[in-house]
Symmetry: C2
């Protein structure tokens, strides 16, 4: 795979972006991260992603070893070094290795920052991102917000991984999970939205507050499409007129089938298509964009 990484305080090859087996970020699922996309050399909502990354780290009592401007520079440099027009760019903060005794005192761990830029990822492949994919409604329950706050973007999601394996084995592209209250939550790296009677409905609680979903709601507001942030039951989702997924890794992706239930007659619906068109058209114009070149020019040549 092509790309560039930053780990251990310096720029490295992707294969050298590694985490120690002793890093508590691995051992306890104690890692926060964020992903920002680049389209035509524009980062999308870069500061919204970095705001969330900083909030995630603070919520878990972790210290990011770089200032915001330093991270912005690193990310610009990574995309520039890799020569990408479009990219999937991750920032990741693991708890780190406990010093002295192996894992007795988490407070003595020093957080490790890794960032990388790789080619843009389409979660279900590019064709399905536009034409639509299918979901499996998992019987595995999503980790409760009482256990782990889902607004902290983190790697503790073996529930979702098992659900995704089930989905793939059943011929679906991905899995959506229900929370302990029986309502729809999310999948690995995306929010789900349903359209009923011309109105967009998506979960208010027990989900990550997706940056792409925020962008979708902004487009809804601009287009005069009403939306509701509220509990969405699986029955409402399956009987919806349209269902779609929002993700940094694929944008606005129609859902045409949930297990054996066809959604919207098996075609992407009008509202989904309108939002998808707007999303990519505006991305091409640099909507909420930060040019890679601006970040690269800003670099001060600090020791990294």
């Amino acid at each position: 795979m092509k790309g560039a990484a930053h780990a251990g305080g310096r720029y490295v090859a992707l294969d050298d972006a590694v985490v120690s087996t002793f890093d508590l970020g691995l051992v306890n699922g104690d890692t926060v991260y964020d992903v920002v996309s680049v389209h035509r050399r524009y980062f999308f909502k870069l500061d919204a992603h970095l705001d969330r990354f900083e909030r995630s780290a603070a919520a878990w009592r972790m210290t990011i070893p770089y200032r915001r401007d330093e991270i912005r520079e690193i990310l610009g440099e990574l995309v520039d070094r890799a020569g990408f027009e479009d990219a999937y760019v991750k920032v990741q903060l693991t708890r780190g290795r406990a010093r002295g005794d192996f894992w007795r005192d988490l407070r003595r761990a020093e957080q490790e920052f890794i960032a990388f830029a790789i080619p843009y990822i389409w979660l279900w492949g590019k064709a399905k991102a536009f034409e639509g994919g299918s979901l499996h409604l998992s019987r595995i329950e999503r980790i409760s917000a009482a256990a782990i706050d889902p607004t902290v973007k983190n790697y503790c999601r073996a529930d979702m991984a098992q659900a995704q394996l089930d989905a793939l084995e059943r011929g679906c592209d991905d899995a959506v999970l229900l929370g302990p209250d029986g309502n729809v939550t999310e999948g690995i790296g995306w929010n789900v939205l349903a359209v009923r009677d011309g109105s967009v409905i998506t979960a208010r609680d027990n989900v990550l507050t997706g940056v792409t979903r925020e962008a979708v709601l902004e487009l809804c507001a601009a287009e005069g499409i009403p939306y509701q942030l509220r509990a969405l039951s699986p029955e409402e989702m399956i009987s919806a007129d349209e269902v779609f997924v929002s993700s940094t890794a694929g944008g606005v992706m129609p859902v045409l089938r949930i297990d054996d239930a066809t959604i919207g007659g098996g075609y992407a619906g009008a509202i989904t298509k309108r939002i998808q068109e707007l999303y990519w058209a505006k991305r091409a114009e640099g909507w909420h964009g930060t040019p890679v070149d601006e970040l690269v020019k800003a670099r001060g040549g600090a020791t990294r």
Copy 2:
């Protein structure tokens, strides 16, 4: 830190036991593991640990790239190379890197096996392992068994890590979590047991079935101490005559305080002490033991 590791199919230094940032074992908390202890060059209940490791891997649809006899050889070799009398020995299986597309198809990931031997770990330090430590009863809920099966020994435990941070900040040694049903579950890497009216009580459901706990119950049976595997409420635990923790990393450890509540007058109780004495006395005699030398002699000189 002193020790020896096996990663990527060969023996390596501890610092080279690393996991790719792209390994889904990190990215999704999708890693199973087990830990076995060595005391006076005897592995304790080695096959019980490897049975559980194999069950964990199978439950999560992962393939261990070595046969049982090969793993036994590797572990013996690691302890022998490190020259340890006492050791903490881990086997770990991460989901691995998805081939081709980054993370679209988990089924295409090849699992990565890492094992290492490091000096024996006393979770709360050696003195507290014998004299007793303190617990914080966390208000963070333990991940539900409906989301992730706790009998699969895994790294998805950011709930426990946050609870442990709370515990340390409050001057306690460790944290115990309650399940969604309000009953006592476990802490990071250990089971908890209460003694009431001469009887040992420990959770039947929603916990890892600890190998050290199995050994404790075996000792109870031998000593004529009754025990019950059943739901344990936090009130029953706090008002118990004795409380102790069982772990591969520390053995049988008395709990003398839970937050502000003193347990057993602040001293290790008679049953706890009896079990602790027996546990270590029998360990010294090679109880349920596999000699390191036996594993090393068995090695066939296969290419690794």
